[in-house]
Symmetry: C2
Subunit: 698 residues, 2 copies
C-alpha cells in the first residue's frame, strides 16, 4: 500500500498531450502544482520529450525501479506494458482504463487474468481498473486526472469510493464544507486491491480518524468485516453509502464494477453489527462527516435543541419524531434559568425557541446554549446557527467557540437548509471548531448517528463459532423422532400431537388429545401443506376429524396422484400470536436470523427484523422491540402479555441449532411459532428444515 | 390586498435609529435601495426629523390618508396607534410585533380583539401580527427588515410563509438557485388576513404561476380548500411544507402562531385531493420549485434517465425503486441508436450510463439525451448535469438549451449533491432554460411530483353534497331493525344472525342457523365487546353456545354489576379477509374515510388509507391499491381472489350513509368487514355508529 499511497517514484505511462481526454496532462499538472512530491518519469515510446522533460520508451530505459505506475493507456495495452514494468521492478500500478472483465466480455476477462498473473508472479499490486486514482493529502500527491480535486485539504478523513467520477464531485463539495482528508482512493473494479485492503490500511493509519466509503459491492466480505470490527474496536467510525438496494440498482452495480451488490437487508444487519453508519445519499454522507469530524461522541441519546425560530422548533420536533429521536427533558433548574433569558410570551422547553429578540444578541443566545448543554439530562446539543453568507456579516467566532469549549458533549450547529459556503465562512467555521450541518432532517439524523455509533464504539464483535468440526459430525443432523427431540430441546416446543396411519386412527388419536384439534396430512411430496389442502383446523369432534382426513386423502389423490401419503398428524389446537423465525446463510455475508410477525395475512406486511449471527439475548430482545408489531407482545387490548422469555429462548435455540449444523442445513424456518400468554411458552407449529446439498469431502 | 402589496403611500410607524434591533432602519434602507417606490411618511412623536426626512407625530399630521402602515412599535402601543391611523383613513397595516394572543395570555388577547375591532369598524386589513412583512417584487417594494432579501429577483413564484424568520433564509437560498418571485408574504399569526386570503390573491394574480407555502396551521380550511380548488382548476401548482406532523410539532405550532396544526394524515388526504405538492423539508421545497418553474408538465409517469456515471445509475435506480417511480422501457429503435453512441462495453438501458468517454463530449451527451427524450415511451427526461462550479469552466449553454428545445416534455437536469451556485452558474442556468436540481433522491422526487401534479391539474374537485337539509330529517337516523336494514341497503351486508333473550334461547337460535356460530352479548353499556369478554367464536354445538352465554352473563355481572344485558346475538361464523372501514368528520378539514386491513393483530401495523369525502369509485380502488396489504385482495398463496367489487360497493355505501346523515352521526365504523371470495360478497360483522350530540336548533 505504501507504493500506492506514499510512492517515492512514479511513472506516468502514456504521457501525451491527448490521451484519454487529456488525463495524462491533468495528472502531470496536478503533480506539477504540488512541485513534484515524488520522482516522476514519463513513459511514451512515441515521444522523446514532453512538457520539457525527457520521455522514456519503457521501464527498461529508466535508471531506477519504480514504485507506482499511472497507466493512462488503452486497456488492450495495459497487460504487456505492466509485464515489462514488472520485469524491471515495478511495485504497484493504477489502471485507469475499464474493460477488464466487469461487463463480462471475453477479451476484458482475459486482460484481467493477465494482470492477476502479474500479481502472482511479481507481487504487483493493482489499484483499479476503471478507477480514477488516489490522493495522498499529507504527501501532496494528487494522482487524479482533474483540477476539481485541487481544493481538497489535508485532514483526518480517509476515503474509499468505488466510483471515480462521483469521487471528485463529492470531494469538491466536502472541501467547500471544510472537511479535510488523509487518503482518498477511487478503487474502481478492484481486480486486486479492494475495499477490504484499503479499509485495513486506513484503520491502521494513525492520521485517519474517520473513514468514508461509497460502495457498490463487497468483494471479500470476511476481510471487510474483520477490518470493520477493528475499526469499531478502535473507535474509528465508518460512514458509508452503498448502492444496489433495488433490483435495477443491483443490475447497474454489476454492469458498472462487476460487483455483487448482495442482499441489502442483510447488509443493513451487517452495518448494525459493525457499527457502520449507513447514509442515504451523497449529501447525507457529507452532513454525517461534518458531524463526526470534531471527534466528540455523546454518552447517551438525549438531545437538547435550541432554535431561534418558532417555525424551526415545530419542524425539528416533527423530524425528531419521525426519526425516533429522544428529546431530553430539561431539569426544572434549567427551565428556570432559561425562562429569564428567552423572549416574553415564550415557554422554555425542548426544542427551545429563544424568540426573535435573541437572534441578534449572539452573546445571550450562546449563554442559552451553554445552559442547555450543562443540563445533566442532555447528551447532545443541537443549536440553530449558520456560517455567514452575506459579505458584510462578520460574526465573532469566539462566541460559538465558547459554547463548544464550555462542554465536552457534542454540539451540532444546524442551519435550515443548504447554502453556499465561502472561504470566509470556512474560516469562521474552523475558528468555532463546531460542525455546521445543513438542513433540519439532516441535523436530527446526524445526532442520531452520533448517539448510535457512540453506543457501539469500542465493542468487540463476537466471532462466528466454528461449525461442528468433523465433516461427518457436521452432517450428523438426525432424522425422525431424534430430530424432533433435538428441535424441542432447543426451545422450539412442538404442539402435543400424535400420528395416525389412517383417517379412523386419526379420529381416535384426536379423542385422546382432546378437542378441538388440527389435522395435517403427512407426505414427503408436499412442502406447502396449506396450499395443497392438507391442513384442517378447529375440528371439534371425532366425526369432523374422520371426514376431514378422508377429504384430504381424496383431494391429494385427485390433485397429485403420485404423492405418497404416510398418514396424518393430529395436533392440539394452539392459539397465540403467530411469529416466524428462521435462519439461513447469506452467500456474501454469512449466517443470519430473520424474525417477525407471522401468519399468511401478516407476512405481506413484512414486519421482520434481520441480524447476522451469532447473536445474544439483548440483541434478540432489541430485534423484537424494533418490530412495528412490538406492542402485541405486551398487554394489548385486554389480552395478556405474551411469553417473551420463551420466545427469546426459542430464537436463541434456533440460532444455536442452525449454527451447530450449518454445514448440513441450508435453511431452518419455524412458521408459525405460536407465542402463548406469559408462562404458557411457545409452540413451534411447523418447523421446516432444508438440508444442504451434500458436498464432496475434500 | 392592493393596499398591502401595491400601496401608493406608506407610513413607517416607529421610525427610529434603534427600534426593535434596527428594524425600522432596515425597512427604510430597503425602501431607499429601490428609490422609494411608494410615497413614504415617517411617524414618530419623539423625533422631528430622521434620515434627512421630516418625522410626523401621528397620522392626523399627514397630508394624505395612507394605504399601508408598517408598525415597528411595541405590541402595547399598536392598538391605539392604529386606531388613530384608521380615523385618518389608513387601509392596511403590517404588525411586526408579537403578543396579540397567540401564546394565550390575557393582555395579548385583548390587544388582538382591539385590532379586530378596527377591522370591523374601519375595514382596516392587517398582515401579521408576529410577521416580518412582505415583498412585492415587480413593484420593487421590499417591506422586510433585513438586507438578506435584497437578492430576491422578480419572477413567477408567489410565496406565503407563516414564519417570518425562515422566510428570509429560504428566499436567499432560492435566489441563489435562480428562482424568481412575484409576491412574498410572511403572514405571521394571521389575526385578520390569512393563508386563504393570500392564496386567493395569488391564484387570481396573473403574474403568479406557482405558489409556495410554509404553513403551520390552516385557520379557515373551507376558504383554503376553495382557493386550492381554483388553483388546481387553473393549473397553478401549490407547493407546501407544513409543520406539526408530530405531537411536539403541534405544540410548537400552537405556541408559535396560535394555530391548530390539525390531523396530519387527514391533511395529507386534503393535499392529494387538491393536488397540493407536499414537500418534506425546506430544501425539498426549493428543489420542487426549481423543477416546476419552467412550467412544463409530463403527459404520463414514465421517466427516462441519462447519467454519465455508473455509480449514479445504480444510486438513482435505488431511489427510483424507493419512490415507486416508473422507469420508461426504451423502444428497440432508441436502444439501437444509443448503442452506437455510448462507451464500448456498456449496454443501453434505462437508467442509461453513457460512459466516461462521453462526459467531456458534451455535444454527444446532448445528442444521447435528445434521443431518449424523443422516445415515445418516455414522458419525463432526467439527465445528469450541473451548472459550472470551477472558475475556468465555461460550458456553452446552447448545448443543454438545445435538449429542452428539441422536446416539449419536461427535462430535469440533476447533479449528485448540493453545491455552491455562483452568479455565473445562474447565468448559465438561465441561458439553458432548464431546471438544475441538486441531489439524486430529490431528482426522482421532483419528477414524481411533476407527474402526480400533471395527473391532477385542471381537475374539478367535487363539492361536498349538502347533508339532508331539514334539521329534523337530518336527525332522522332510524334505530333498531330499521337502522340495520338501512345499513344493509348501503352494501354493508350483515352476517346471518338472530337475537335471543337468554342463553337457552341462544343455543336454540344457533341450531337454527347451523354450527359453528359466533355469540355476542347485547348490552347498551359496553362498546368494546371483545375486551369485555362479550364475544365467543367458533362455537360448535348447542352445549358450547349455552356454556359460553352463561359465562358471558356471569362475567359481565361480576365485572360491571350495573351493565344492562339485553340478551345475545347469535351469528353465522364468517370467514374472509378482515378490513376496517370508517367515516368521521375532522374538526378542521371535514368528512373523511378511513379504510385498511383489520383485525386486532393487524391494526397495530396500521395499514390504512385516508381520503376526504365525497369520493368516487376509482379513488376507492386507488386507496385499496395503495395499502401494503393490497396483494391479499388478489389471488394469494392459493387462496382465491377476494370480492373487491363488493368491498368497493360497501365502502361507497358507507360514505353515502355517513354523508347523508352526518348531522346526526359523528362516527361510523365497520370492524371487521369480512371480504369473502369473489362473488361471495362481504359481511359487516360489527357496525359501530356514534350519534352526534344533539344540537340546539338555531
Amino acid at each position: 500500500m505504501d507504493a500506492l499511497l506514499r510512492p517515492q517514484s512514479i511513472a506516468l505511462v502514456g504521457a501525451s498531450d491527448s490521451s484519454r481526454g487529456g488525463w495524462a496532462g491533468r495528472l502531470y499538472d496536478n503533480l506539477a502544482l504540488m512541485d513534484f512530491p515524488a520522482r516522476l518519469h514519463l513513459i511514451n515510446p512515441h515521444r522523446a520529450e514532453l512538457w520539457g522533460r525527457k520521455c522514456y520508451p519503457n521501464f527498461a530505459a529508466l535508471a531506477e525501479p519504480v514504485d507506482l505506475a499511472l497507466t493512462v493507456i488503452p486497456s488492450a495495452a495495459v497487460p504487456a506494458t505492466l509485464a515489462e514494468a514488472c520485469a524491471h521492478g515495478l511495485r504497484c500500478a493504477i489502471v485507469y482504463a475499464a474493460q477488464f472483465g466487469e461487463g463480462g466480455d471475453r477479451h476484458g476477462a482475459a486482460r484481467g487474468r493477465a494482470l492477476l498473473d502479474l500479481r502472482a508472479r511479481f507481487g504487483l499490486r493493482i489499484c483499479g481498473p476503471n478507477c480514477m486514482g488516489v490522493l495522498s493529502l499529507r504527501e501532496r500527491l494528487l494522482l487524479y486526472p482533474a483540477a476539481r480535486i485541487r481544493s481538497v485539504e489535508p485532514g483526518p478523513i480517509g476515503l474509499v469510493f468505488q466510483s471515480g467520477g462521483t469521487f471528485q464531485y463529492w470531494l469538491a463539495q466536502a472541501s467547500v464544507r471544510g472537511l479535510g482528508f488523509s487518503y482518498c482512493i477511487s478503487s474502481g473494479n478492484e481486480l486486486d486491491l479492494d475495499l477490504a485492503d484499503y479499509l485495513e490500511f486506513l484503520v491502521a493509519d494513525e492520521s485517519t480518524k474517520i473513514i468514508v466509503c461509497l460502495v457498490e459491492g463487497i468483494r471479500r466480505p470476511a476481510a471487510f468485516m474483520a477490518a470493520a470490527a477493528r475499526a469499531l474496536a478502535l473507535g474509528k467510525p465508518i460512514l458509508m453509502l452503498k448502492s444496489g438496494r433495488s433490483e435495477r440498482g443491483k443490475a447497474a452495480v454489476m454492469s458498472h464494477t462487476g460487483a455483487l451488490a448482495g442482499n441489502d437487508e442483510v447488509f443493513d444487519a451487517l452495518c448494525r453489527r459493525y457499527g457502520i453508519v449507513r447514509c442515504r445519499d451523497l449529501d447525507a454522507l457529507i452532513e454525517t462527516c461534518v458531524a463526526f469530524a470534531p471527534g466528540r461522541l455523546p454518552n447517551g441519546r438525549r438531545i437538547g435543541i435550541v432554535t431561534a425560530s418558532g417555525n424551526t422548533t415545530a419542524l425539528i420536533a416533527d423530524y425528531a419524531s419521525e426519526e425516533g429521536a429522544t428529546l431530553a427533558t430539561l431539569a426544572p433548574a434549567t427551565l428556570d434559568r432559561l425562562a429569564g433569558l428567552i423572549d416574553a410570551g415564550l415557554v422554555a422547553g425542548n426544542p427551545l425557541d429563544v424568540g426573535a429578540a435573541n437572534v441578534r444578541r449572539v452573546d445571550k443566545y450562546a449563554e442559552i446554549c451553554r445552559i442547555v448543554a450543562a443540563d445533566p439530562g442532555v447528551d447532545i446539543i443541537g443549536m440553530q446557527g449558520q456560517v455567514p453568507t452575506l459579505p458584510d456579516e462578520a460574526p465573532d467566532p469566539a462566541v460559538f467557540a465558547g459554547i463548544g469549549a464550555a462542554t465536552e458533549k457534542p454540539v451540532v450547529v444546524f442551519g435550515r437548509l443548504a447554502q453556499n459556503v465561502s472561504a470566509a465562512a470556512r474560516d469562521y467555521r474552523n475558528k468555532t471548531a463546531l460542525p455546521f450541518v445543513h438542513g433540519l432532517p439532516a441535523a436530527i439524523r446526524v445526532m442520531q448517528a452520533l448517539a448510535t455509533y457512540a453506543g457501539q464504539r469500542g465493542r468487540q464483535v463476537p466471532a462466528l463459532p466454528p461449525p461442528v468440526l468433523s465433516p461427518a459430525a457436521a452432517r450428523a443432523l438426525p432424522a425422525g423422532a431424534a430430530l424432533d427431540a433435538l428441535i424441542a430441546a432447543h426451545g422450539l416446543t412442538p404442539p402435543r400431537s400424535a400420528t395416525a396411519p389412517s383417517p379412523e386412527a386419526a379420529a381416535a388419536r384426536a379423542a385422546d388429545l382432546g378437542f378441538p384439534v388440527a389435522l395435517k396430512i403427512v407426505s414427503p411430496d408436499i412442502s406447502h401443506k396449506t396450499e395443497a389442502g392438507g391442513v384442517a383446523v378447529g375440528l371439534a369432534d371425532r366425526a369432523a376429524v374422520l371426514a376431514a382426513a378422508q377429504a384430504m386423502r381424496a383431494g391429494l389423490a385427485a390433485q397429485r396422484p403420485r404423492a405418497r401419503i404416510d398418514g396424518f398428524l393430529v395436533q392440539e389446537m394452539v392459539s397465540g400470536l403467530e411469529y416466524i423465525v428462521g435462519a439461513r446463510t447469506d452467500p456474501l455475508y454469512g449466517p443470519f436470523l430473520v424474525l417477525g410477525l407471522g401468519g399468511v395475512t401478516v407476512e405481506v406486511l413484512n414486519d421482520t427484523a434481520i441480524a447476522l449471527l451469532p447473536i445474544e439475548e439483548p440483541e434478540v430482545r432489541a430485534m423484537l422491540a424494533s418490530l412495528r408489531s412490538a406492542p402485541l407482545l405486551a398487554e394489548f387490548r385486554g389480552r395478556p402479555p405474551r411469553d417473551v422469555d420463551a420466545l427469546v429462548r426459542a430464537v436463541l435455540g434456533l440460532t444455536r441449532l442452525f449454527l451447530d449444523h450449518r454445514e448440513s442445513l441450508s435453511d431452518i424456518e419455524v412458521n408459525p411459532l405460536m407465542i402463548g400468554p406469559q408462562g404458557a411458552g411457545v409452540r413451534a407449529v411447523d418447523v421446516r428444515l432444508v438440508r444442504a446439498p451434500e458436498k464432496e469431502d475434500a
